[in-house]
Each structure stands twice: as C-alpha cells, then as structure tokens.
Symmetry: D2
Subunit: 414 residues, 4 copies
C-alpha cells in the first residue's frame, strides 16, 4: 500500500496532536475534542453522529459493498498534573466527577489515538478507489472509567450504525517508536476496582477495650488479602491484587469508626477472576468478624474492565498485513497487565477484535534503557506525569498501522 498522502497531511496532523495534547478533557467531558473530531470527519465526507454514549462521536465512511470494519480511538484524558516540560504541555484543570478541581493531562496517549485515526480516515477516504466496504470510525469517551464503550453500546450503537465484521484498535505504549506489537488470545487483563469500607466502633485511644479498632481490622485484612494471590491462584495462572489505598483515622489518640480500602484486581481468566473476587469478599467479611465488628463491611464496585481477547485468527491476519507495511518492526507481545474496554464492541457484535500496541519511545533512549536493564524505571509509562510519546515516528506508525489493517479487512477493488 502507498502512503504518499500522509506526507501531505503530516504537518496538519502534528499540529492537531499538539493541540489535543494541550487541551485534554476528563472522561465524559470531551466536548472540545468531540467537536474538533466531528468537524474533521465532516470535512472528510463521513456521516457524523455526535453525542453517542454522552460524548462519543461516530463517523461512517461508505464505499460500496463489502465488509464493515470498525476502527476505534478513545479520547479522554486523566486527572494528572503534567510534568513533561513540553512546550505543548497541558495546563488544563477541570472538575472531576467527585466535584474536586483537578489538573488534566493526556497521560495515556489518547490524543495520539485520535490523531492517528483521523489520519487513517483521511488516507482511506483518499484511496477509496482501491477498496470497497464500510468504515465505522468510533471516537469513544471515558475509556479511563471503563464505561465509555458500554455507554455507546447502551446508546444503541449496534442498531444505529452499520454492524461491524471486525473491530480494530491500537494503543501507544512505552516501547520503541516505529514498532508495532501484536498479541493473540487473552491480551489485556480484566480489571475490577473495589472500594471497601470496614466498620469498627471509635473511641479514645487509651481505651481500646471499649472500641472495635478499624485500623487493626483493615491492616489485618490487607495482610490476609496477600494470601489470595499467594495461595488461591495457581502459579501458572495470572492475577494481581493491589490495595492501592488504606485510610482510617485522623488523630493518634482517637480510634476511628471505620477504615477504607481501595482494591484493584487484574486477571486473565474468568474463573480466576471469580475466585479472587470471592476470596476478597470472604476475607474482608471474616476479618471484620475476627475484630468483632458490629456492622458488615460494604463493597462498592468502582470500575470493571473486561478481559480483552484478541481473536487468534484475526490477530494472525492483521499481523501479516502489518508485516507487509513494517517488515520486522512487527513483534509478538505477551499479554499486558493493563486493561481496556475496546473489546466490548466485538463481544456485543459477536465478531473478532484485534487490538495492537505501537511504540512511543525514542529509539535511542529505549535501547539505552534495555542495555541498562532498567526499562521499567527509566521509561515513563502510561499514566505517569512524564508520559509523552515522541511525535515521530510514532504518529506515522500509528496512521500506517491503522490504515494497513483496515485495508486488509475491507474488500479490495479492481
């Protein structure tokens, strides 16, 4: 496939990327981004629908008979204070869903996703003589909540737009820019986030016998929760259970009334996931009983990301297409301990999903870190205040990858 058109639009895409990066918006607040996306989709001649799943945008590019290919980019930012020092770094702030004023940053590269998808749509639109079929471009809100894809589906996505035959998407990741990485089978972990409140009975710090100490209760629970992975998950299964936050009390000599734990669970297998969740509930309840709690703990599900499964055949076919474009810059990746809701579209439609990573880290810097064996520490990962993809060759790679994959799944003409 030829990518000559990309040279004509690269400067515009670069400017767009920097503008998006400087103007990140929180989940379900992506109004400015959505408007810009819609404007550009219309300019490319697509049928545009805004407000799908609150702030999502869908563009449809019809080009005769043939397969329907869904291309998806997510477009929300994060409540992170950018520290990249870039000239186009974000200084935005916003009101988060809990009412607090927070900084906002594109700390997960969704600005790059949007830019690459718009670039790919331009190329596809420009080359429509060479393929036939339908492209459904999905600009999804609130991926960071794990609820944006479901919001679009709940808003009638499958009924309102052409039903896809395959769902494609990509994510920029902290490995070498210019490379594309493909996974097969279970590819990104399911993730469940829980807020657990444990109830004691407060009192004066000198009289614990008149209290039920929630600090001890919560601490014992945290230790006991370590046994879930160490004892209840097989060595060759995969699960991670993290208590990211424990909070109880404000003063040294006052035993508080309750404690709060925030828990995150990653898994790659529904049976493992269910066993871990059951163990968490069992342990938390039992530790409350052990402390003599007079009230049952409360569990609130904060987010739930599904397991992302790359259909093996779709992954293989897509991988071949990418190799035709990138040669040996396409690599196989193991499953990632990260989570995504992109798979919900394919699951809902009953069609394969294929999702890949493309590198965002400067090549020399990455090689240096590999040589020093400190990639995990030296290269800022997604969600870091220092996360910022090298614009090139990242942008070019992302546009070409999406275009190549789409063409592969669309019908060829002529």
């Amino acid at each position: 496939m030829e990518f000559g058109r990309l040279d004509e639009i690269r400067d515009d895409l670069t400017a767009l990327y920097k503008d998006l990066h400087a103007h990140p918006e929180l989940s379900f607040q992506e109004h400015r981004t959505a408007a810009e996306v819609a404007r550009r989709l219309e300019a490319l001649g697509l049928e545009v629908t805004s407000g799908v799943g609150r702030t999502g945008v869908v563009g449809v590019l019809r080009n005769g008979s043939g397969p329907t290919v869904l291309l998806r980019a997510d477009f929300d930012g994060l409540p992170v204070q950018e520290q990249t020092g870039l000239e186009y770094a974000s200084t935005q702030r916003a009101t988060s869903s809990d009412g607090s004023d927070v900084p906002v940053m594109h700390a997960c590269g969704h600005d790059m996703h949007v830019t690459c998808l718009l670039g790919a749509l331009d190329l596809l639109s420009d080359s429509r003589s060479s393929w036939s079929g339908t492209v459904v471009a999905v600009f999804q809100p609130a991926e960071e909540f794990g609820t944006g894809a479901q919001a679009m589906l709940d808003d009638g996505f499958l009924e309102r737009f052409p039903r896809p035959d395959v769902c494609l998407g990509q994510h920029v990741f902290p490995f070498e820019s210019g490379f594309v990485g493909m996974m097969s089978g279970p590819s990104m972990s399911a993730a469940d986030s829980l807020k657990i409140t444990m109830f004691g009975r407060g009192g004066h710090g000198s009289q614990p016998q008149n209290t039920v100490d929630p600090v001890v209760m919560a601490s014992a629970t945290v230790l006991r929760l370590q046994t879930v992975v160490s004892r209840e998950v097989a060595g060759d299964d995969t699960a991670v259970l993290t208590v990211g936050s424990i909070r109880a009390g404000t003063k040294e000599n006052i035993i508080p009334d309750q404690a709060e734990l925030l828990v995150n669970i990653r898994s790659f297998d529904e049976r493992v996931r269910e066993r871990v969740l059951a163990a968490v509930h069992r342990i938390v309840r039992a530790e409350a009983v052990a402390s003599g709690a007079e009230r049952e703990p409360e569990f609130e599900q904060l987010t739930r990301f599904p397991l992302l499964v790359n259909d093996p055949e779709a992954a293989s076919r897509t991988s071949s297409a990418l190799r035709a474009t990138f040669g040996d810059h396409v690599v196989d990746l193991p499953p990632a301990m990260a989570s995504e809701d992109v798979g919900l579209f394919g699951t809902a439609a009953g069609v394969p999903t294929c999702y890949w990573f493309f590198g965002g880290t400067d090549s020399a810097r990455f090689q240096e870190a590999v040589a020093a064996d400190n990639v995990a520490r030296a290269i800022p990962a997604n969600h870091s205040p220092h996360f910022a993809p090298e614009v090139e060759p990242t942008l070019t790679t992302g546009v070409k990858a999406l275009t190549s994959a789409a063409i592969e799944w669309l019908g060829t003409r002529g």
Copy 2:
C-alpha cells in the same frame, strides 16, 4: 471552713463559665481568655503577669509569711465541633497550627477549671485574715499539646515567681457531680504521640514487582505493633499502644510512595515506657526492612505527656482536708489512663504534686448508667463533642475543693 462568700459570687462565676464555654480558644491562642483572667485577677488584688510561656497568666496573692501554694488551671480548648445543644454552646472556629480552619470547643472542661480557680482565689482573697503564706495562681496554656507547662517553665517561671512548696490542681471528669476523687502514686499515664512515615516506592497497581508497597508495609507494621503490649509488657504492668490513624494512597490502581501512622502510647512506668518506645522503633524499622524499603522510616514526636505522680503523703493530707469539706463525697480513684502536664511544675520545683478529679455528670444520669452497666457508652467523656459538665453542683464543688486544699497547705493564722 466557711464558704459563705461563694453564695455572693456564684451567679457571676456561672456567667463567666458560660461566657468562657461559648468562647473557647485553641492552644497558645488563648488571648481573650487570658485577658479576662488577668482583668479578674487584678480586680482581686493579685500581682498579675501575662504572656508567661506565650499566653499563660500568673497571679500572685501574698499574705504574709508561710508556705507557698501553687494552684493551677489550664485554659485551652480543642478542635472539636460542639454538639451539646446548649444555649451557650460554642460556634467558634480558628486556624489550627497546621493552617487549617477548625471548629473550637471547650470539650475538656478547662473553662470550668478557670472558673473554679478564679472562684477559689476570690474566696482566699476574701478570707485572708484566716491564713498566711503565698498563693501562686497559674493559668496555663496549651495543656492539650502537652507543652504549655513546659513553656511556662522555660519562660523562667520558677525564677520569676515565688517558689511553691506544693502544687495543686484539679480536673473535671465524667463521674457524679458533687464528688471528688483522689488518686495516690502514679495517677495519670505518661503519653507519647508519634508520627511515623514509612517509605516504599510507588508504581502501577498491576506491577507490584517494580514497587515497594507501603500499604502492605504499614499494615504489617500495625499488626506487629500489637505484639508490643501482648508480648513485651508484663500482664501486671500497664501500657496501651494505639495506632489512631493509617493513611496511604489515594487510588486503587496506584501503589503509593509512602504511608503514615499516628501512634499513641500510654504508660505508668518509665521502664515500661522506654521498652515500648524501643519496641515501636525496632518493629517499624524491621518491617521496613522486611518490605525491602530503600529509605529508613521517619519518626516525629508529636506530643509527650509526663507521668503524673500524686505524692502519696500530699494526696493523703489533701484528701483529709477535702473530706472535712465533702464528707463521704471524697472517693479513692485508681490511676487514670489519661494524661496531664500539670506534674511538670512540681517536678521542676522538686516539691509534691497533688491533683484530683471532680465529677461533672448529673447525679441521676450517672446512677442510671451505673445501674445499666453502660457508663462508658452513656456518659460523654472528655474530648467528646457532647461533653459538658452540669454547671451545678460542679462549679460549687470545684471552688470548694480548690479552696479547701489550698487552705490546708497554707499557714493558719491564729
């Protein structure tokens, strides 16, 4: 002893009490209170010195040769939101030492202490023909910090004012109003408050292997700290170790960098105290090592209250004097698991301290709670937002107790 004068001033004292209650001030911010105290001391004819130990006030009443008796009242309030529903409840707010805006309440009865001491000074001043010697009235700031007495001593208290032969004081407590309770020997616990910061290394919740998890580190520490009392303090020694607060992290899928524990330790014996403190340091450091921490934990001493020892002979002598006034309404009390810095005056001067409690709870209500065996739950204790002494007979009891005890220790005049 005759207390006829009390009938003349009771209304004024009651009004003073309610005014003080409605206008509590935080530790070392007791400016309004100090001014009122100074004004009244001058009106009574005492030599008055303000600003001793920042906001303390000292009044000296000289009445010929004879013993010097120190009478002490503390006068700071607490950052508590009053919930008594009294007509004279506090609605005050103030800026606490850490800069935050907080409610203020006389939740520990120091307003009653001030009122009773002023009442006693009036009676002593009025009856000076019947005794000889010197009364040094100490209105101490910042008892709640455990640092007010030391601040006055550091400000030259012993050099600037007549050196006492005995130090007397009293505290209102949630038992039956009209009763006085005397302790002997070690009477109120030493208390040490520590802020402990433990350092991990943060990271993504899905990759604990790249972090040192401070949530687990702090939780293991809390559990291990339970062994200090269970294993290192003899069954017949007394110590209480409470972790009043544990705080780490803000988000479920981010492993934070550090955790903070607030710890309070009560003891009645310096050897026990030292062993407990050493054990806390040892355990915290070892648990950090167990977690693989790369940085030593940090310990900050927040407050330190000394052990209060009532000199047994002074307690016995004072008790006899109180019995002459109150008959069988004087009771022996066991040591209290609460803390006070009043003892520092006697320790610094090398003279006996005698400190007692006087009841503040309505008699019927107290008896009812006793009968129902739920005193600890039914009667609001000091520091509770519901703590409020019954004005009478509490005020009368406090004035008479202080006056009777002072007279006992002063010289009698023919």
Copy 3:
C-alpha cells in the same frame, strides 16, 4: 509460739524431703508418696483416709471443740528432666497420661510442701495441749492438672471430713529463703488452657490453589490473637494470652491437612476472662473462615485453674500471726501470674482461703541477682529443670509458717 520440737525432727524431715525429691510421681500416679504420707499420718495419730479423689490422702487431727482448720499440700511432680545436679536429683521416668514415656521431677517444690505439712502436723500434734479444735490435713493429687482439688471435692470431701472454717496453704517460690510473702484479694491468676485444631485441606506444595493452607491459617490466627490483649483488655486490667505451641506439617513440599495451637490464658477477673475466651473463639473461627476452611475449628479445654482469692481479712489475720513468728521477714506480695486450685476447697465450703509463698532461694544468690537486676534470668523458677529450693532455711520456714498460721486459727487453750 515455741518450735523446739522442730529441732528434734529436722533431720528426719530433711531425709524425707530428699527421698520425696528423688521419687517424684506424675499427677494421679502419686502412689508411693501417698503411702508414705499415710504411714506418717498414722504414726502421728491422725485419722487417715487414702484414695480421696483417686490418690489424695486426708488426715484428721481432732483436739476438742473449736474451729476446724484445713491445711493443704499438693504432692504431684512434673514431666521434666531434672538438671539440678543434686545428689538426690530424680532419675525417675513414668508413663504420662497420653501414653508416652517421660522423665519426672519435683520441679515445682511439692515435695517441700508435703514435708513442711508433715512437720507442722508433728508440731501441732506435739503441742495439742496449747490449742483446741480440729486440723484437717489435705494431701492433694494432680495440682499440675488443675483437677486434683476438684477430684477430692467430687469424691465427697466436704461430706466425709470435718467442714473447715478456713483453708490454709503455702507454696515455695524463687525468692529469698527465710521469707514469707502474703497476698490479699485476687492473688493468683485464673488459667485456661486450650488445644485448638484448625482444619485445612492438604495437597502438593506446588499447588496451593487446590488446598486450604492450614500453616497460613494458623499463623494468621496467632497474629490476630495478639490483638486480644492489645485491644480487648483494658490497660489497667490484667490478662496474658500465650500460644505456647504451633504445629502443622512435616515436609516442605506438602501442604498439611491441619494445624494445632496450644493456648494458655491468664486472668484475674471473671469478666476479663470471659471476654478473652470469647475473643479467642471468635478469632479462631473467623480466621478459619477467612482461609476458606471447610470444617469448623475444634476447641478442647486442657486445664482450667480458678482465680485464687485470698480473703483480705483472713490474709491480714494470718499475716499478723506470721509476723509474730518471722518479724520483718514477712512481706506483702503483688498478685502472682501463676495458678493454683487450692482455692476450690474454700469456695466449695464457703469459707475464706489464705495462701502464701515462702522463699526457696539462697539468700546471697538472690541478693546478688537483685543487685544485678536479673532475677528473672538468674534464679531458676518453678517448672525449670534447674528449680531446687535450698533445703534450709526453706524447710524450717515452711514448717513454722504453717504451724503458726494454724495455731492462729485454732482455738487457744488454757
């Protein structure tokens, strides 16, 4: 009182003591000891009944009208391998109640108790002209099980023998020989011993996910049990909870089926005792649930010693009598964290108990340890393989103490 007779029998008593020491017998197996006791009681002219409560012996010395005084000595040994190096050290072995072959030693001084009581009975018999009343001498089996006194009571003790007006007894203890120590009120702790079996599900060490790991379950339980004393017992109450043994598994790569804990609980107050026992049951059950155990833990009460309360008036009266004999070698002792079933006789009869300690440690050695502040480490305590009272002045002290106390409570004649 005159003790001239003691000089005549001291050599015989010393020989008896060494013979008993060399021939200790386990609880409820004290046949040789009982026979020797019975023989000597008969020689002294008492009415003798053997086999009371299996192996106990009761001697009654009637001497006219007057009070009935119970004097009690226990006479069982312990399964300890003697390491005193004494010429009369025990080399005995016996079959313990669980069928195993064990060494036996008088490691708790019961041989001294028997000798002193026989000496006192000789003196009382010899001096019967100076007193009137009845002496009931109780040689009790199985004190170490905590069940011997109850066994005698269950065997009709109160119905078969003269009902006592007071119960007296004594115990040799590792303080200075020649001294007697008296307690008042709650004097020796209640003690409950439990065997707890927790059930997991075994399996291969590499596949914990197919097991319920009892090693983790029991370890978590031990840690959680530390919170009973640290959080549920008031600082000024007294309780000790010790897990003396934890046992699970035999091989590193096999997860066993169950774990066993042996727990000992000391307390001085029935409410504290009940709360601690309830907490132990609650925690053990909850930790089993936390582990996902499929079977409830099992609790077996191994021994139960009651709280020993010295009647304050009886203690005071006895103390005065002892002071008449020993002068300032009678001291007040705080409650002891040790346990005794002697009190069951007084409780059953509804009469006061008075029990005291007498020192067994060489005076110089004891003073040296005091000076070096290492009494707890330097002086072998009861149950140690090195425990051995100095024969004199321990024996003389024990005989005189028992005789003096008995005379005090008996009627005087003439």
Copy 4:
C-alpha cells in the same frame, strides 16, 4: 518402527514392575534395585558399571559409529505408607537419612521408569541392525533428593562414559494412560527447599515480657512470606512459595526457644528464583529483628532442583518421532509445577535435554474426572499414598516412547 519384540517380553516386564513396586528403596539405598538392573543389563549384553554416584548404574550399548543417546530412568522410592490396596503393594520399611524408621513406597512411579527403560533397551538391543551409534542407559539414584544426578556427575560420569549428544527421559504422570505429553522450553520448575530455624528465648507462658516469643515470630514470618509472591513476583511470572511445616513448642504454658519452618519454592526463571530467595532471607531476618531476637535465623538448603528446560528443537524433533508411533495420542503440555534433576546431565554435557510425560491413569476414570471437573481431587497424584499407574497400557506406552525417541536420535542403518 516395529515393536513385535515387546509382545515377547511384556509378561516378564510386568512381573519385574510388580516386583520393583513391592520392593521400593529409599534414595541412595537402592541396592536391591541396582543389583537387579545390573543383572538384566548384563543379560542384554551391555557394558555395566555399578556404584556410579553411590548407587547409580550405567549401561552402555555400543553399536557402531553414530550419535550417542543418553536414556535416563530414576529408581528411588519415597517414605510414604502405601494405601493402594494392590496385591503387589509395598510393605517395606527402611531407616531414613535422619535415622527414623519409615515406610517406603514407589509413590512417584520410578519403578515404571526402570521397567520401561529396561524394556526399551531390550528392543534396541534386539533391533541393532536397524540403527548405529551408542546408547548410554542411566539408572539414577536419589532423584527425590534432587542430588542423584549431581552425584553421578561428581563421580566422573562424563569422563567415564561416552559423552551424549542428547539426553532423553520420561516420567509417568496422572493423566490418561496411552498418551504422551511433550513440553517445550522451561518445562519443570526449579525447586528450592529450605529449613529455617528462628531463635527466640523461652520462658513461662505467663511472662512473655521475659521472653522472645518464637511462635509469634514464626507466625508473622509465615504471613509476611505471602507477600513474596503477591508483591515481588510479576503477575505473568511464575513462582510458588509454600511453608509446608511450622513447628514450635510442645506445651501451652511454656514459650519455646525456637521455631522451625520448612519452605519450598518453585520457579521457572533464574531471576525470579533469585529474587524470591533473596526476599525469603530478607523477610525472615527482618521478622527476627522485629521480634527482638538475639540470634540470627539459620537457613539450611534441604534440596535444590534445577529448572528443567526442554530444548525447543529437540522437543519438536522428538515429538514428531513420537507422533509417528502414537498418532494423536501425543499432546502438548504446559510447563509443570514439579521438579526434576534430569536436566543436569544435558547441562553438564552442553547438549539438549528432552523429557516427556506419559499417562498412568485408567482412561475411563480420567475421562470421568474431566467430565466432573475434579481431576485434581479425584486422580491420585505423584507422592500420594494412592498413586499407582495402571500397568497397561502405561508400560507399553513407556517402552515404545523411549524406544521411538532413541531411534530418532540414533543413526539409521541401511
């Protein structure tokens, strides 16, 4: 390949198998087994060397020029009380290396390994016209200790016998008999077994303050060790850490002097293994410090099994050969959480290892368990007292597999 000869010798092999099963011997005590093996090797015409690595036997079958193929069987039993109920069940007992009298059982199928290798050698000897090269048959002692292969290597194995070009071996496993399972890459876990002794200071259970309680120390350590897998091993790495035994104390009211933990660690990556081992040492030492131990814990390495890596090319080549014999009864297996020292031969010689499993469970029984989803519970695994391979078709499968694989790697003739 033709296996006609097998029909002639099957009865003899079956009898041999049952005889070996009835006469298991402990590691490094395999004298009877070794003698029988040597006798049969000589009968087959091999050059036989006994006593290699204490009790090992090596047979060399030279058949002209060509590759040298090592075939290995291990031949020790286990201290397990057989409960199979088979007519040829073992009733043997022996003195284990720690001096105790123990039952012995072929609970890991090594009797089957020996039988199959002898059968394969018979077939190879019988068919030597069809291949050329050298077969080195290794009958290894003490596989259960993880030290037998090393003992043979330390005894000059590589110098004394023809150097192999490939090392082959097999293990009977609880899946369907008649099937062969092949792994590739890291195939069986490294396993490290440690005995850890933690030192406290004993004393009376009522006086924990005079002790350092090893029960609490060891229990806290067990809980903390759970964090190694939960926090220090990546979700997609594999490690299992099991504390198979915890033992401390014998009596409820005596705090013991020390505690013993037996720990088993499985891993598939040397970096993970080293990190886990380092964490175990760090945690154990730190928990001793947390308890105030006066003596460092002691670590004793009980066994150490290396990681078994099946060379991918060798596995692929061998697998093809097995497929030619068994068709679709050859399956790919994931890595096994079990350990083997067979790989040491290949590692020492610098040549590929290929090791496979063959099923030992009756087909119908296995399918039933699969259908009921309870294979782990229903099918006795290796080391179980109920483990017993179905003799057929297990024996036939094992002989054919070994012969087919050997022929593949030997030179073909004609």
